[in-house]
């Protein structure tokens, strides 16, 4: 007999935590959070810069501080069980989850399920940057984790591709760690990140910012040695005779995020092929009843504050769904 739980939440980042607290507040008394990492908080843990919480807490917090506020609240609610290092490998349309933990194989059935699985970063391969494949090419988030969590410096002469917020923030971060940030290269006419990040992370540090440019080739066999850069027109076509080279030892890729919805896709939820998000009317809802998606896996948000408030609505929706089932 498979163990049944009222509400299971996959993901213990800001979305999952807000959803859990809100579901509890709305009357759900049996909640399990499955978090694959060793700690709650998700990507907030590696975002050590300030700028979080302005909307939600009316204060300026760092990522770990913002996460800590929610973790503290969770710790006061014994009815919310947190299972760390728990990796979901399978999900069915009946909301049966299979998850692995070191030393254990587990299967449970959720009456209601909230997926708060976040995003992954688009890779160099997804934007088809030609050239070699040496060491020294990192997604911006990986570089952020290496520096801020592991204390490892992955590059000294850095070129950043794309101007997503993580890329902009990492431009400043690398400068603060004593690295040279040679350029930020953006194919669009303007930055893809928040204006405040362009000003505070790039302009304030005099980092060259090339809009309407792209990398035409990555050079280097063992480690990145340089990149070729060209100007593009409004249709992203290369403008002839504009190529120049930048010497560097690393390339950070910050060209956007993709919601991680492979598990619900496995369960049969209808997914939009372009955005990789669930197709259904209504915030946080999916084509499977009682299966909700919130946070960055529902849609890519600009700021965590909106993730928290929208995810609270997911917790509320799940509570209402469970109440309806009891009637």
């Amino acid at each position: 007999m498979i163990k049944q739980r009222e509400l299971v939440i996959v993901g213990g980042g800001p979305a999952g935590m807000a959803a859990a607290l809100s579901a509890y507040k709305n009357g759900v008394k049996d909640i399990l959070i499955l978090e694959r990492d060793e700690y709650l908080g998700g990507i907030l843990n590696q975002c050590i810069h300030p700028g979080f919480g302005i909307d939600y807490f009316k204060e300026i917090l760092t990522g770990p501080e913002y996460a800590r506020r929610f973790i503290n609240k969770l710790e006061q609610v014994p009815r919310i069980e947190v299972s760390l290092r728990s990796f979901v490998v399978d999900l069915t349309k009946d909301k049966v989850l299979t998850f692995l933990k070191p030393g254990s194989f587990n299967r449970i059935k959720a009456k209601a399920l909230i997926m708060a699985t976040g995003c992954r970063e688009k890779t160099r391969e997804m934007v088809h940057i030609p050239g070699t494949r040496p060491a020294g090419i990192f997604s911006a988030g990986l570089a952020q984790k290496m520096i801020n969590i592991e204390g490892l410096i992955p590059g000294k002469k850095v070129v950043i591709v794309g101007s997503g917020d993580i890329g902009l923030i990492m431009a400043r971060r690398f400068v603060l760690e004593g690295a040279q940030v040679k350029a930020v290269i953006e194919i669009q006419k303007q930055s893809q990140g928040l204006l405040r990040n362009v000003v505070q992370c790039v302009q304030d540090y005099n980092i060259p910012f090339f809009c309407q440019h792209k990398i035409s080739k990555i050079h280097g066999n063992s480690r990145v040695e340089k990149v070729s850069v060209v100007k593009v027109d409004k249709n992203f076509k290369t403008v002839a005779n504009t190529e120049f080279e930048i010497e560097c030892d690393s390339i950070l890729i910050s060209v956007g995020l993709i919601p991680e919805n492979e598990l619900i896709e496995m369960a049969g939820v209808k997914i939009d092929k372009n955005t990789n998000t669930p197709v259904y009317k209504g915030l946080n809802k999916t084509s499977i009843k009682g299966l909700f998606v919130c946070g960055n896996s529902y849609k890519v948000y600009d700021i965590v504050d909106s993730v928290s408030s929208d995810s609270e609505k997911a917790g509320q929706s799940a509570a209402e769904y469970l109440k309806r089932g009891k009637k």
Binding site: R36, R85, F87, V89, D90, T98, L100, K101, P102, G103, S104, F105, R120, E121, T123, R124, E125, M126, H128, P130, G131, T132, R133, P134, A135, G136, F138, S139, G141, L142, K145, M146, I147, I149, E150, G151, L152, I153, P154, G155, K156, E177, K217, I218, N221, S222, R223, D249, E262, E265, K273, N274
Partner: protein, 485 residues
């Protein structure tokens, strides 16, 4: 100084297949590899196809060895626990006027002894390959085509050869070969090999299976009558979600210099599209291009119109070590004891077991006494991969070893146990771990798991994290460590 009977230069699929074959005999055998790990040269960019033998001239050496290799590979894969899947191939035509070429391919293949081939029509294709373009009118169907992981085959063969006494020396680029005759005697002497790290090896026989560099090695031994001309192939890997986009390997009619741009099923599940074929001069040029991507996409869309550039999660380029049309496998009578196994481009992976037998036959001809060992371990314990087992089995092995429940690579479901096991079996680099376990090979491309793998690799190989590389010296990942644990 120890005198080897045979030294094999190059630990690609050819060198390791020969090493494994020779390990059956009472011989002192060693393999020298220039890179940090086996399979890091030509073999790492192989498509993983076990060809049935079609698309080869009926009098060619490679055609014969391919048909023989296809049969032998099944046994080797079984003995070593390499997953071989017989998926079959279709050579597809879109035009009535191309049917005579299809018939000619069939006749040539039959002359070579390719079994069970037949020409199938629109009706068959519609039923068995539903995503294939409606414009495809017929195909040559060769059911004996198969797939396997080329690098896992190399690692498993070399591991088995080592288990049977073969010695392997990595990072030993051969820079000098001195043939030496015993003065005043007709008896053959031995070669002295000097490597870039100043190590010396003595051996009675040399087998040159140095892939792209086989001409350079041959020249060192005094034979300078062929040139390896690299022919670049770019390949693009699709998301695992597209695993069932085809049921067979799909080929167009062969082009002049290659088998054309294919849709390839792989043992990992991810379909692959490519390769291009472009002659180049630089033996180190593994760059991919925009032009290559365009060419591959337009070619495969003709066969499967639903393939999109959005399905691509990874790409790479490889170099085929071409030396003219056919393989060069021969004893060089001018340099007694020196055997060239060169120009092994496609279908080299398939042919490798047959090439190994041919190399043994050449040694025997040269008077080497190939005496079978009393004990030959022909099997090895199959490597465990969570992604290929049913959950019931996963449950069992996690109970036996908790590390199997500790997932490191989330896209491909690879556990800490599998990574530690890969290190135990010889992985030294991030690429070595990727090729063996598939960790970092999925859709996030290592964004989530690289840190963890770096730490496991550093800890289990007792090296500082700053010395961990992607693929050998110069490809370090971490440039500086700021804090102590």
């Amino acid at each position: 100084m120890k005198i080897y009977d045979v030294i094999i230069i190059g630990a690609g699929v050819v060198g390791t297949a020969i090493a494994r074959e020779l390990s059956r005999y009472e011989l002192k055998t060693a393999v020298l590899e220039k890179e940090i790990e086996p399979a890091f040269g030509v073999s790492k960019s192989n498509s993983g196809i076990i060809h049935p033998g079609t698309q080869n001239h009926c009098n060619s050496l490679k055609g014969r060895l391919c048909v023989e290799g296809n049969k032998l590979m099944r046994g080797i894969a079984h003995e070593l626990g390499v997953d071989f899947k017989e998926v079959g191939e279709l050579i597809v035509v879109f035009n009535k006027k191309d049917i005579p070429r299809l018939i000619k391919l069939k006749e040539e293949a039959e002359k070579l002894g390719v079994p069970k081939i037949q020409i199938v029509g629109r009706g068959w294709l519609k039923e068995h390959e539903p995503n294939l373009s409606k414009k495809a009118i017929a195909a040559l169907y060769a059911p004996t085509a198969g797939i396997l992981s080329p690098y896992r085959l190399v690692y498993d063969m070399i591991e088995n050869a080592q288990n049977n006494g073969v010695e392997v020396y990595a990072q030993q680029e051969v820079i000098q070969i001195k043939p030496s005759k015993i003065r005043g005697s007709k008896k053959q002497g031995y070669f002295e090999i000097i490597t870039s790290s100043k190590r010396k090896f003595k051996t009675k026989y040399i087998i040159n299976s140095a892939g792209l560099f086989a001409d350079d090695i041959s020249k060192l031994a005094g034979i300078d009558d062929f040139k390896i001309k690299p022919r670049k192939g770019e390949e693009f890997i699709l998301d695992k979600k597209k695993e069932h986009i085809t049921n067979h390997l799909l080929f167009p009619l062969p082009a002049k210099k290659s088998k054309g741009v294919l849709i390839i099923k792989t043992s990992a599940g991810n379909p692959m599209i490519g390769p291009t074929a472009c002659d180049c001069v630089d033996k180190y040029d593994l760059s991919t291009t925009d032009a290559g991507l365009k060419k591959v996409l337009s070619s495969v869309k003709r066969m499967i119109p639903s393939i999109s550039h959005k399905d691509i999660i990874a790409y790479f380029a490889g170099l085929r070590p071409a030396a003219g049309e056919d393989f060069i496998i021969r004893h060089e009578d001018k340099v007694p004891g020196f055997i060239n196994v060169a120009g092994i481009q496609s279908p080299g992976l398939t042919a490798a077991p047959a090439i190994a037998l041919m190399a043994c036959a050449i040694l025997r001809q040269q008077g080497v006494n190939l005496k079978k060992k009393k004990i030959f371990h022909k099997t090895r314990e199959k490597t465990t991969h969570l992604f290929e087992m049913p959950f019931s089995h996963t449950e069992k092995i996690i109970k036996e070893d908790p590390d199997y429940g500790d997932i490191v690579c989330r896209c491909e479901m690879v556990s800490a146990k599998e990574i530690k096991e890969a290190i135990k079996r010889g992985a030294k680099t991030l690429d070595g771990i990727k090729f063996r376990t598939r960790a970092q090979a999925g859709r996030c491309h290592g964004s989530f798991c690289t840190c963890r793998i770096l730490k496991i690799l550093a800890e289990n190989s007792k090296r500082p994290i700053t010395q961990i590389t992607k693929k050998g010296a110069g490809s370090e990942i971490v440039l500086e460590k700021r804090c102590n644990d």
